[in-house]
Amino acid sequence: MDFIAPLIFVILAAIVVAGGLAVVLLPRITGSALSMGLSFLGMAGLFALLGAETIAFFQVLIYVGAITVLILYGVMLTGVAPAGADRRLFFQKQAGWALVPLKFVGVVATVFALSFQSNVVQQPGGDLEPLANAVFRDYAFPFEVASVLLLAAMIGAIALVKRGDD
């Protein structure tokens, strides 16, 4: 089992770095935004590999969910013109239909191959309990300051984009 963690690490690292490169290199800004979401998703996997499951959860919730959608809203509202013609791959539809059952079979085969024979009992709650103790006890004051910062950012964003006279 010693090779599984490095293998997963290499796959996730490739996703993260390739997503980041795609953000910088892709000419179409929508592609950049979606690549950023992919990179964030790979990063959540790296957090889970490090044993920080709660951080991975927040990563999916905040980065992949909220920030990517917010960036896409920004792309939409700034109305960037689509560059060039439809550049879809020729076999994209067929490849999509072929890939999904292949992946399903792969996942099921992996599940049956591993058959959950791990005898390591995880600590219930994972890293959530020490994290919650740290945030709400040792760092309670910075936590409150952070909420004030979020409120200020929200009001500031509304004030910045509010139209003048209505």
Binding site: P6, V17, V24, S39, Q59, Y63, V161
Partner: protein, 104 residues
């Protein structure tokens, strides 16, 4: 699970950080620059979590900092997009080279 060395995570983190830095320096679209800043923040998060999980004591300080970074990133992207939209309304472009004047 501890078989991946710490240095590998730091290597990925610095790779992503400098990809983001290159994007900030090279791209001219303001929204793409915001995305690259997010990538850099995320790379810092990975370094924080990696050091925290491998070197820290019982208190996961690095993870706490990462939560604060999430707050900063959310605030940054909200205010940043608001500024981009305000500038876009003033002068319909998101290319940072073409935004000469910041007069309201």
């Amino acid at each position: 699970m501890l078989s991946v060395p710490l240095g590998w995570f730091i290597a990925v983190s610095s790779a992503l950080f400098f990809i983001g830095a290159a994007g900030v320096l090279v791209r001219r679209n303001a929204v793409v620059i915001l995305m690259c800043v997010e990538l850099m923040l995320n790379a810092a998060n990975l370094a924080l979590v990696a050091f925290s999980r491998r070197l820290s004591d019982a208190t996961p300080r690095g993870s706490v900092f990462v939560i604060f970074t999430f707050v900063i990133a959310a605030a940054e992207v909200a205010v940043g997009l608001a500024i981009v939209l305000a500038a876009y309304r003033n002068q319909p472009t998101v290319e940072v080279d073409e935004i000469h004047e910041l007069k309201g």
